[in-house]
């Protein structure tokens, strides 16, 4: 047995992109270019086939540049990166769907790629027919499917409808059946793109568990996912792609920490000088920031306290009552809470000059997720709106596996409070009373 199952060697891939054409100034020029367009179209279509590696042309887009790595027998590799980093292109090359423009990929072993759940499903066919069609598309033989058919149907939980046309299935049933077929492939290398991110939560969990099982069975796995949890549970090593190049490689936890650290703390602070600050008639906003309460912590976790700081500059001369209020929403546009100095039952009198507020959020309150300060406003004398700012901050509470070992990882729910429990076991009835 060779010591690696996949070798990616200096792979680059270019795509031809459309360039904007110059606009025609005269009717004559427009007609001429219209008449000439078949020739031009033909040249463009023909070029789809004929560009080469050495070419440095304006209309070539390099989706991948000089990517190399090796994957050993039974190893698991995650590929992460922002949208458009070239992850899917790389998987397509390894899966033999598209050819690289330069370099080569060598594969030893049976490869199955799952770039989509239910490839080739036909809605007019029954579940049974689709299992066979989809299974053979993924590379199983008819005999193999015969043997595994019962297990596949059993796993999918759609036995009752297996002879019903798939177009009458619910989306969930369709997904479950499609995933089940894929789960019973027995390849040497499994290439998975995002498929774990479909379906409802129980199904996602079930499919992830199944994938982990497959990986433990000795199959090499390459996984592309935006779901850090899946990558962390499934993959030992991870590659970070940025604009088509490998910019980080190493143990998954380390790469993930560097990657998430890089993207989550992006819009957590906004600061202006007095001259440039956004302003109303009476108020300027100097600074808005959200940060972990304890300095040195790179990300906010559900167990961390964190704080908002808002600094204003007031331009009114006469002293008055001031209240500062903000709305915090989650990524599904739910209002999580309203934070307001008005709720403290204290009066804050202010005059001309800087005005700084810090609002501390206790630890063990919010669950993981992406949060946005959708509204920030200042009232004078509890009624007069003197300043308003929308969508000022956005930040993430990281509930990923890497940061929560021993804390059961992500659970559902908007809040993740630490609650006081009183638990007694094996007690007599009288003591309960």
């Amino acid at each position: 047995m060779p010591n690696h199952t996949i070798e990616v060697n200096d792979v680059s891939k270019a795509f031809l992109i459309g360039l904007q054409e110059s606009r025609k100034e005269t009717l004559g020029a427009a007609i001429f270019s219209w008449v000439r367009s078949p020739v031009k179209n033909y040249n463009i279509l023909k070029r789809l086939n004929t560009y080469n590696y050495s070419e440095e042309s304006e209309d070539l887009f390099w989706a991948l540049r000089n990517v190399s790595f090796k994957l050993g027998q039974g190893e698991t590799l995650g590929i992460i990166g922002n949208n458009g980093a070239g992850k899917s292109t790389l998987l397509k090359i390894i899966s033999r769907i598209t050819n690289p423009t330069h370099g080569y990929v060598e594969v030893n072993g049976r490869v199955s790629s799952l770039l989509e759940v239910g490839t080739g499903f036909h809605s007019e066919l029954t579940g049974r027919e689709n299992v066979y069609l989809n299974g053979t598309i993924l590379g199983m033989s008819r005999k193999e499917i015969d043997k595994k058919f019962d297990a596949i149907v059993d796993f999918s939980e759609v036995e009752k409808f297996i002879d019903t046309q798939v177009k009458k299935y619910s989306t969930g049933m369709r997904l479950r059946l499609a995933f089940s077929v894929a789960a019973f492939l027995e390849p040497d290398v499994m290439i998975i793109d995002e498929v774990l991110a479909v379906g409802d939560a129980p199904f996602r969990k079930k499919s992830l568990t199944k994938m982990i099982e497959v990986a433990k069975g000795g199959t090499s796995v390459i996984l592309v996912s935006h779901n850090p949890l899946a990558v962390q549970q499934l993959c030992k090593n991870t590659i970070l792609l940025t604009h088509g190049r490998i910019t980080d490689f190493g143990a998954t936890d380390e790469v993930m920490q560097r990657y998430l650290g890089g993207v989550t703390m992006d819009r957590t602070i906004q600061e202006w000088s007095l001259e440039e600050a956004p302003s109303s008639d009476d108020v300027k906003l100097i600074k808005a920031e959200v940060r972990p309460s304890s300095p040195g912590v790179p990300v906010i976790r559900p167990g961390d306290g964190f704080e908002f700081e808002f600094v204003f500059y007031f331009m009114f001369e006469e002293e008055c009552d001031v209240t500062v209020t903000f709305h915090l929403n989650d990524e599904y546009e739910n209002l999580v809470f309203i934070g307001s100095t008005a709720l403290t039952n204290l009066k804050y009198i202010a005059g001309k000059g800087y005005f700084k507020t810090v609002c501390r959020i206790p630890p063990d309150l919010l669950n993981g997720g992406t949060f946005t300060v959708t509204k920030l406003f200042v009232l004078r004398n509890y009624s007069e709106l003197i300043y308003e700012h929308n969508e000022i901050l956005s930040f993430e509470i990281t509930s990923d596996y890497a940061y929560e070992h021993g804390n059961n990882g992500r659970i559902d729910g908007l809040l993740k409070p630490k609650l006081d429990w009183e638990v007694k076991a094996n007690v007599e009835t009288e003591m309960m009373l």
């Binding site: 795509f15 033909y42 279509l45 789809l48 086939n49 590696y53 397509k92 090359i93 390894i94 899966s95 033999r96 769907i97 598209t98 050819n99 690289p100 423009t101 330069h102 370099g103 080569y104 990929v105 060598e106 594969v107 030893n108 072993g109 049976r110 490869v111 790629s113 770039l115 989509e116 490839t119 080739g120 036909h122 007019e124 066919l125 027919e129 066979y132 069609l133 053979t136 598309i137 993924l138 590379g139 199983m140 033989s141 008819r142 005999k143 193999e144 043997k147 789960a183 019973f184 027995e186 040497d188 099982e213 497959v214 069975g217 000795g218 199959t219």
Partner: protein, 289 residues
Amino acid sequence: MNIRGSDMSISRRPTKFRIEPGRKWKLLDLKELAYYKDLLYFFVLRDFTVQFKQTVLGFLWAVINPVFQMVVFSVIFGKLAEISSDGIPYPIFSFAAILPFNYFSQSLTGASGSLVGSASLLTKVYFPRILIPITPVLSKLVDFAIAFVILIFMMLYYSISPTWNILFLPLLIIIMILSAMGMGMWLSSLAIQYRDVKFALSYITTLLMYTAPVVFPASLILEKFGNTAYLLYGIYPMVGVIEGFRAALLGFKPMPWELIAIGAVSSIILFVTGGSYFKRTERIFADVA
């Protein structure tokens, strides 16, 4: 639980390969095709199962279509235009031609759109791309067989018994399939790169229909344009196939071996060039789909 069984049947799949931009290709990787024969089977089954889904008449459409054409041709070309039919009753004369020609043109239509229609497969999973244009060419054989039953009934009705040349029918059918596959591979790989093919297709099939000896006998070409033209006419492989069908099934005239021989050669050329063009371009299908 270990889900990796020790099933040896899975090891037949070619397992070592290199993916690179080069132009190395084989005309047909038979080992790989043998591995994917089950997929081809299910593709054909799918095409055929889906074809008449949610219709009232179902399989009858495979009958109605050629019968309708036969009636129209018999009235217009047989009765009104009085085109010669080599002394055969015009309805069965035209039906014996409609049968192979419809197979040919339906295969072309199916094959030429097949790659474009399978874009979602092409961009998601690997399997030999050649299966896609081959599938409609094979699934239309079922329609062909159904319509063939009608021909048998018509022969009974006209009390026409086939000649011994019916033994050569499989040869004609092979020529017919080879040309359909050859054209199918050409058109499908052109169509995915140049969508113009989709618009040109209806003209192409109409042209193919009127240039083939469907509504007239090939002997008319011999009569009007001479022997050289007649032999050149045979380059169009369906000429030999159609005239061969008439001779073998209906008698009335000897087998046109010269047309069949020329047609066989050109169908092989069509198949080989179509296959190699397909192979040469298939690596970009996913990029242009």
